[in-house]
């Protein structure tokens, strides 16, 4: 009987466990997690913060799910190192867990920049915003009068800001970039998002950064690089994430920013697999290896790893970013390349805050941003992921709202009727 | 009140028939006993008999039995007959006084043969010629009615119970090798002598029990071929159908039966290809000759007797044999009263004919 061990209890880990179970209904599957919570939807923490999601709905799987699948989950267990020779994982506290196949799905952690006066260990009102625990702590600390500074106008920072809305005195988001969510939005789209958030009393300080923090145990003010001084009751640091590769380093896995894996999610060591935010993936467009912190790609990779661990060969697709986010009812979906110099087609309706931006390179759709007009977004996503030649479609995708009818009749029929494995 | 021929009157009936297949002749006493047993099946408004082999001395002449309403029409009709026929013998048909028989017409009998020069140049047979003349009299000579016109056979009929009619015509004095009889139960009739059964044309006679629902279809069909259904009775049209198909079109009798009581399409489909094609063709061409609705008939002709039921046997018909005789009747008792111990007795199925013909050389 195979022994499968999975380090990490989120998207990659759980999808891997599911995939293993699908292909091997006898094997012993263990998941260990250093967190004290059952697996939860990590992106839900901002919904928890705002109160839109109650604690009982935070969980990614129902309570008896793992039991029903005969998957053992060990919470509050953190891997310390791996004994490749004996195929054992040592846990903090002295435990040892044997494995035949190991998956490292440790995800990513917050990136903490060097800021003068920052001392995360001492300062009680400085938070990161990645885990359920982060959210619970933050939620406890805030008051109706809190002046909140969010360092970082990325996805996490903005979701944190939205989550805090209405519960605090003021919210100011600071970012060095010239726009919000610079990595996934072009300037025009970012401006729509920013304006919309500003209308909801979120303040932005862009092209600047927090350069100094005042207060020993409690931050009271922060200084920005543009010399502004801001009062601060709560400081949320959300400037980015980086892969958790400490455990990987204990066995000298090949890594760059993240763990290097092949398309079967195998690491450089035999029977050790890795998946999710902690690995590097191949970019669909450039072919470069880089870290994508994406929930759906973590799920996919976990599944692929699970298949291969259960000795059913499966290849991971190349990755490109797809993000669906909403802020105060503004629905935003962005995918692929949005900033490169591509031929853009933009349909904009400022009154309704609608935007549809299609980035076309050569004969391919390489990226898009949709704001408030996202109904058929998945079709664009498929056009990107399948690298569909736009000239072979039934009509010009820039000429009207896209639908499944964009495919030629034969293609459409094939996709629709063939037992679909997508 | 309109009389028979001016309207169509439905009626129920009793029928009976006896044949000696060896051609031995016997008196009408048995047939009278048989038909009178079924007294309840008739109501006194019609009875009649057909007798074959009764005029051996005149066997080459057509024997016309004619009812006249008055002397005037008798004279006119006789002029017509004399013009077209040589009259070998003529006289009134002997009758006997029977209290229940009233309103009797003048009843005359003529033994005739068509005048040869009348046939010359026309391509018709003497039978066809005679038949046309009979139809002409019946159609055009109001008050005269030829009710029998075959050779060596005769029909005797009138208004009254059949046993009374038999007594009236003194049928015990005639000898025939085949007798058929009919007792009638019309629902509404003034009782016209010509309307009684059997109905005959030439030597075809039909006694019939039933009310055919295809009457008008059959009538229109035979009328296309020169017949004229003056009586509007089923028996008349059935007789014409037989005459037309068997005599005029020379269709073998067993085929005629398959036309008149045609097998169902579903049965035809079960037959082999050749027979299927033949039956299909017969039904197709002679669709209008199919007799539909309830009937049991006894057809008499020179060769013998055929009894037939409709396709789904909506009327009773029993048949029996004893030695050289074949009996058919509406009821079994009507056979047993004259033949208490038949060799065989059976109930013919719908559309299955009982064919009792004179044996070869017995005519």
């Amino acid at each position: 009987m195979m022994k499968y061990l999975i380090i990490g209890n989120s998207a990659a880990g759980i999808n891997a466990a599911d995939a293993i179970r699908m292909n091997d209904n006898k094997g012993n599957i263990k998941i260990i997690s250093r967190e004290k919570f059952r697996a939860y939807g990590r992106p839900l923490i901002s919904y928890y913060l705002s109160g839109k999601v109650s604690p009982e709905n935070m969980y990614y799987r129902s309570e008896n799910y793992f039991k029903s699948k005969n998957i053992e989950v060990l919470l509050n267990v953190e891997a310390e190192n791996i004994d490749l020779k004996n195929k054992e994982v040592a846990t903090i506290g002295g435990g040892k867990i044997a494995y035949d196949k190991l998956l490292i799905a440790t995800g990513s952690g917050p990136f903490i920049p060097h800021i003068k006066g920052l001392d995360m260990c001492k300062q009680e009102n400085v938070f990161t915003f990645l885990t359920y625990e982060d959210a619970i702590k933050l939620k406890k600390k805030i008051t109706k009068k809190s002046k909140v500074i969010v360092a970082g106008a990325g996805f996490i920072g903005l979701k944190a800001a939205e989550g805090l809305f209405g519960q605090v005195g003021s919210i100011t988001v600071v970012d060095l970039a010239d726009r919000v969510m610079a990595s996934i939005l072009d300037k025009q789209s970012a401006d729509i998002v920013q304006t919309h958030m500003e209308q909801n009393n979120i303040n932005f300080k862009l092209k600047t950064s927090v350069c100094e923090i005042y207060g020993k145990n409690n931050v009271s003010t922060v200084a920005l690089s543009n010399n502004e001084i801001l009062d601060c009751d709560i400081l949320v640091i959300a400037v980015g994430v980086r892969p958790n590769i400490d455990i990987a380093n204990t066995i000298n896995l090949k890594t760059k920013d993240g763990i290097i894996v092949n398309e079967y999610m195998q690491t450089s060591k035999r029977d050790v697999y890795a998946a999710g935010d902690c690995v590097e993936s191949l970019d669909l467009f450039s072919g470069d290896s880089k870290v994508f912190a994406l929930w759906s790609s973590a799920s996919n990779q976990g599944e692929v790893a699970g298949f291969n661990m259960a000795s059913v060969e499966m290849k991971a697709p190349m990755v490109f970013a797809v993000n669906a986010i909403s802020f105060f009812g503004l629905q935003l979906i962005s995918a692929g390349v949005v900033n490169a110099s591509t031929s853009n087609n933009i349909v904009l309706d400022l009154v309704k805050s609608e935007l549809c931006r299609l980035n076309i390179l050569n004969d391919n759709l390489v990226g898009f941003v949709l704001i408030n007009c996202e109904q058929r977004a998945g079709i664009y996503t498929a056009l990107i992921s399948d690298r569909v030649k736009l000239s072979e479609l039934d009509y010009d995708i820039t000429s009207r709202d896209v639908g499944f009818s964009v495919y030629s009749k034969d293609e459409r029929t094939k996709k629709y009727w063939e037992p679909c494995k997508r | 009140m309109l009389k028979e021929g001016e309207l169509r009157i439905p009626s129920g009936c009793a029928i009976s028939g006896i044949i000696d297949r060896k051609g031995r002749r016997f008196s009408g006493e048995e047939i009278i006993r048989s038909i009178s047993l079924m007294h309840e099946r008739s109501n006194g408004l019609g009875g009649g008999f057909a007798a074959y082999g009764i005029y051996p001395q005149y066997k080459d002449f057509y024997a016309f039995h004619i009812f006249y309403e008055n002397l005037n029409i008798k004279m006119q009709t006789e002029d017509f007959i004399a013009k077209y026929f040589d009259i070998e013998n003529a006289g009134s048909i002997p009758t006997k006084h029977v209290p229940s028989i009233t309103n009797k017409p003048l009843i005359w009998r003529y033994f005739v043969s068509p005048r040869i020069h009348m046939l010359k140049g026309s391509f018709i047979s003497d039978a066809e010629f005679t038949s046309r003349c009979v139809i002409k009299i019946n159609k055009d000579y109001s008050g005269a009615y030829v009710f029998s016109s075959g050779k060596n056979m005769g029909t005797f009929k009138g208004v009254g119970y059949p046993e009374a009619i038999g007594e009236f015509f003194m049928l015990d004095t005639y000898k025939a090798y085949m007798w058929t009889a009919h007792g009638r139960f019309p629902t509404n009739t003034p009782g016209w002598w010509g309307g009684a059964h059997p109905f005959t044309i030439l030597d075809w006679s039909v006694v019939h029990n039933g009310e055919i629902s295809s009457y008008d279809t059959n009538k229109r069909f035979v009328e296309m071929y020169g017949y004229k259904c003056t009586l509007q009775t089923d028996t008349e049209v059935i007789t014409y159908l037989f005459d037309m198909l068997a005599r005029k079109f020379s269709i073998p009798m067993e085929k005629v039966i398959k036309i008149i009581a045609a097998p169902f399409w579903s049965e035809i489909e079960k037959e082999n290809e050749e027979l299927q094609f033949e039956l299909k063709s017969m039904r197709t061409v002679y669709a209008s000759a199919l007799i539909n609705g309830p009937f049991s008939i006894i057809l008499g002709y020179e060769k013998g007797m055929i009894a037939l039921n409709d396709r789904i046997k909506l009327r009773s018909l029993v048949a029996a044999t004893k030695d050289d005789r074949t009996y058919v009747a509406s009821e079994e008792s009507a056979i047993r009263i004259i033949c208490s111990n038949p060799d065989k007795i059976w109930f013919p199925g719908g559309g299955d004919p009982v064919i009792a013909l004179l044996e070869e050389g017995q005519k």
Binding site: - | R8, F221, V285, L290, G293
Partner: protein, 501 residues
Amino acid sequence: MSLSFDIPVFEVVRNEKRCIQCQVCVRQCFNSVHSYDEDDNVVCTDDIKCVNCHRCVTLCPTRALIIKKYPLEFRENTNWTSNAIKEIYKQSQTGGVLLSSMGNPKAFPIYWDKILLNASQVTNPSIDPLREPMETKIMIGRKPEKLDFDVKGKLLTEMPPQVELSTPIMFSAMSYGSISRNAHESLARAATELGICYNTGEGGLNRDFYKYGKNTIVQVASGRFGVHKEYLSAGIAIEIKIGQGAKPGIGGHLPGKKVGEDVSATRMIPVGSDAISPAPHHDIYSIEDLRQLIFSLKETTSYKKPVFVKIAAVHNAAAIASGIVRAGADAIVVDGFRGGTGAAPTRVRDNVGIPIELALAAIDQRLVEEGIRNQASLIVAGSIRNSSDIVKAVALGADAVYVGSAAVIALGCHMCHTCSTGKCNWGIATQEPELVKRLNPDIMYKRLVNLVSAWNHEIQEMLGGMGINAIESLRGNRLMLRGIDLNEKELKVLGIKYAGE
């Protein structure tokens, strides 16, 4: 012309409380009666475009729609009816011949409704079709004068070709072009399943439908569209169309806009060209010419196909029919003045021809009198509406009937009388792909099968009631009929007695 006198004929009444703005009506009305006003979130209507086809009413999921007669009246005048006035408005605006569709709608007597059937009581039994065989099969074709057998009783006579029908009902000629491909397919499939025939009309026969050949009657009309040797051989019988009940003496006209690629290929005419059938056949100016055509068609098909000749019921139909039988036709088809059409000049449709009941009775009587009734089959058409019409027709002397309007009604026709516009919302009389789609042959052929099966059951019931178990025993059996509300002359022509007689 700047000012139009057009007045809506119908009023579309929308129950606002029930309307859910689902816009099914908007999408389904090809006449654009309904439209959605996004600003006010209401569905609006334009009454003047409504033809009362009921498509919207039928599909409205909340029963929010009713179509009513438009309430605007002219001053009362029994002579100048509103119709008479409106027709003048229209003609004075357009300068054109008035066109109408479907059959004569005028209040002429409907003789079917003045004829009553008989049933058996006491003296002979009625027959229960559920327990006893009840035959409705008939053979259409020429019958030899008599059958000859050899001495052994073997059949000697060669039988002319016959068309076998499981029930005496066929689908009338409706061309591919005047009706849609899907309508055609439905008719063909239904006829095949039922064991009856449908008729191509004069639009030729698409090769896709050759497989239904055993149940297809191919028509040869004055335009000779789509006629070639293969076509003639493709069906079970050939019908020469001389006239049509809806427009006796008039040709046909299929507008070019209905001649798409498929229709064009089938008719053998260029795409988009008008298909004009001349009023007469230009090779038939007399009866002897007809005989020549009948026999050329027979020659072409090696005497294997019966040839029908179809005429409109006109005043001297009986004499014409006699001539047609003598010219060698295997069957005569007579189409009464209520017969339907895709388009006919209104005046012709409403004023030319005679009722089929009278024509049928006269023709049958004439043929019987001439002794030739059994030679050819007699098929009647022109508004056979139900099974009792059929029973009466057979009793008057018909071998079989053609149903056209009833068939299209089964296909969804709601008798809006606007076939000629090509905008049939039910996908019948149209070539618009979007509309044609609305008639799903998989569903619709079954409706036809159901209709004919139901009628066949009813025919069997009525036959049984009359004590008849084969339909041929009803043919010409006029004793089974009685007239009501008819005058002496009508009774005489019909050859039936008055009820009570």
